[in-house]
């Protein structure tokens, strides 16, 4: 690296953060675009159709299995009329898409999406309260939907907004409770002594609630992944993520069949696209959380090269790719489930949230506590 760049970066540490933010944005946005394509193609194949397979490289006949579709989609939403109905509450109507999209992007700030690249930890904000921050931000997402429902000033969006608020609150509690056992295991100071010196250097100065620390806890072997140690917690967390991101068995705020399009009925053009991108970014953020908390983050249990912090550039990039690959698996699962399960009825949704998941997750906490106490 040339001298002056090194100097610039050491004198202005915020530049590094800015570069990381841009980097994450540059990776997440295409992922959003291509998860939309994946959604359409997978749904088509499940329903014996072929899906969008025409758009390839513009102005050529190269079709690339329809991988140029995001271009066409983006262009289309830019060219559509940005219509504001006369009966809406304007300020909230304008705010809502941004409020629903930004939280899903902010979540990426604390997620360790790789080990090291050069001398930099691959996490934008290495917060010691990472998981609390995540829950705080994720729950902001509901305001966008509620605002959209309220500001649209018509009945279907309003119903969607109401449903969303009830749904999000009930599933957030179960979700929060389900990760407590994860931290009961991972936030135990004892296991850190057994780590290699690489890991110790990497975790220097981080707290026990730090998400990198959870990754370190799972780096040992396949069966130290928390998905195997805490299957009940994982199951509840997975389903809560479905509910949080309004994905199909729980897409009551949107439910096309009964509420037209729910909270975003009155939106068109790029504002609608913002909601759409927000939904997919939330899916990616949720998948990233599941990967970090339950599936070993960027590590793979295939020896030193994959499960200790990277020394070189190539290793660092491989770790990032491993992380993206794991996210892709979860995205595939979420997309698949959408075309597999019918929507839950409203009372069933509430039943599952309050009467099943909450008690089960509490029981799981107690169970974990008993096991830990017996082991100690």
């Amino acid at each position: 690296m040339p001298e002056f760049i090194t100097e610039l970066l050491t004198n202005h540490p915020w530049l590094i953060v800015a570069i990381k933010v841009l980097g994450v944005f540059a990776v997440v946005m295409p992922m959003v675009a291509y998860s939309v394509v994946a959604e359409r193609r997978i749904s088509a194949f499940i329903q014996d159709r072929v899906g969008p397979n025409r758009v390839g490289i513009p102005f050529t006949n190269i079709k690339l299995l329809g991988l140029g579709q995001p271009l066409a989609d983006g262009l289309k939403s830019f060219l559509k009329e940005d219509f504001t109905p006369g009966h809406v509450k304007r300020i909230y109507y304008w705010m809502a898409p941004a409020v629903s999209m930004t939280p899903s992007f902010i979540v990426f700030a604390v997620i360790p999406f790789g080990s090291m690249l050069g001398m930099q930890k691959m996490v934008i904000a290495d917060l010691n309260v990472g998981i609390l921050f995540t829950f705080g931000i994720v729950s902001l997402g509901v305001y966008g939907i509620v605002l959209a429902g309220y500001s649209a000033n018509s009945k279907y969006p309003f119903l969607g907004g109401i449903r969303s608020s009830a749904q999000m609150i009930s599933y957030e509690i179960a979700m929060g409770m389900s990760v407590v056992p994860v931290f009961m295991l991972a936030a135990d100071p004892a296991w850190r002594d057994g780590l290699t010196s690489d890991w110790k250097a990497y975790l220097e100065g981080t707290g026990l609630l730090n998400l990198s620390s959870v990754v370190a806890y799972q780096s040992d072997s396949l069966f130290s992944w928390l998905i195997f140690k805490q299957p009940i917690a994982f199951w509840i967390f997975l389903i809560s993520i479905f509910a949080e991101t309004n994905r199909l068995p729980f897409d009551l705020p949107e439910s096309e069949t009964e509420l037209v399009s729910g909270y975003n009925t009155e939106y068109s053009s790029m504002r609608f696209a913002l909601f759409f991108m927000g939904e997919y970014a939330a899916m990616i953020a949720g998948s990233a959380l599941m990967v970090v908390l339950f599936c070993g983050g960027w590590t793979l249990p295939f020896g030193e090269y994959f499960n200790t912090p990277a020394q070189g550039l190539v290793q660092g990039i491989i770790h990032i790719l491993v992380f993206i690959g794991k996210i892709a698996v979860f995205l595939g699962l979420m997309i698949w489930v959408r075309w597999m399960l019918p929507r839950f009825r409203y009372d069933q949704l509430m039943n599952i949230g309050w009467k099943r998941f909450l008690p089960v997750s509490l029981a799981n906490i107690i169970l974990t506590a008993i096991v830990l106490w017996a082991a100690a």
Binding site: I42, A44, F45, I46, Q47, D48, R49, V50, W336, W339, M340, L341
Partner: protein
């Protein structure tokens, strides 16, 4: 009305068996490409989705299908139309316009008194009713297989005589397209109509 809800067993209320079942069904559809009953040509091809990849694949047009009306030629490659203007008269949307040759028009086959000087069909007006084919005493106009009629402007879609003749081709092809049950070759309209008339006479 009170809907009776079936009592679910403990296992069913876990939803897990039905979720696994759902995976099984969706997997089957995802990987085994279902054969379709609609597209006859695809029956032989196992790897077919129900979607028809339109411009590359097209419907097999059934015999007797009423597509665009074209003029046909006989085996000697001469025009069959004799400019009687019956089709022009019968055409409900007035899509056909025939210019008769006048007193000294050219004739390109023996036995014909006259040929149309111009024969235009406006494909934008045509409703594919088939009256022209029905009324034509010379079996010179047929509704053939074409159903995709496109153009960049309205003038382009008014087909003139040369274009209609070249699109129509030989009359044998048109006969084959309109093959009827129990008749060996072509429709042989007048043969059949004569037979019908005879039968009617016998009946009375």
């Amino acid at each position: 009305m009170k809907v009776k809800r079936a009592k679910l067993s403990w296992l069913e209320r876990l939803y897990i068996p039905s979720i696994l079942n759902g995976f099984k069904v969706t997997m089957r559809h995802f990987f085994s490409w279902k054969r379709s009953e609609v597209y006859a040509d695809k029956q032989s091809n196992f790897a077919a989705k129900t979607t028809m990849q339109y411009p590359e694949e097209k419907w097999p047009v059934p015999t007797g299908y009423r597509g665009a009306p074209y003029l046909v030629k006989d085996v000697d490659n001469s025009t069959k139309c004799v400019s009687c203007q019956l089709c022009e008269f019968v055409c409900p949307p007035k899509a056909i316009r025939i210019t008769p040759p006048g007193r000294d028009g050219d004739v390109d086959r023996e036995g014909a008194e006259k040929m149309p000087e111009a024969f235009d069909i406006n494909m934008l007006r045509c409703i594919y009713c088939g009256f022209c084919q029905e009324v034509c005493p010379e079996e010179a106009i047929f509704l053939l297989k074409d159903y995709v009629i496109t153009g960049e402007n309205r003038e382009e879609l008014i087909y003139d005589k040369e274009k209609l003749l070249s699109l129509g081709g030989l009359d044998q092809r048109a006969y084959n397209h309109h093959v009827q049950e129990g008749v060996d070759e072509g429709i042989k309209k007048w043969e059949k109509k004569t037979q019908d008339a005879k039968n009617q006479a016998e009946f009375h």
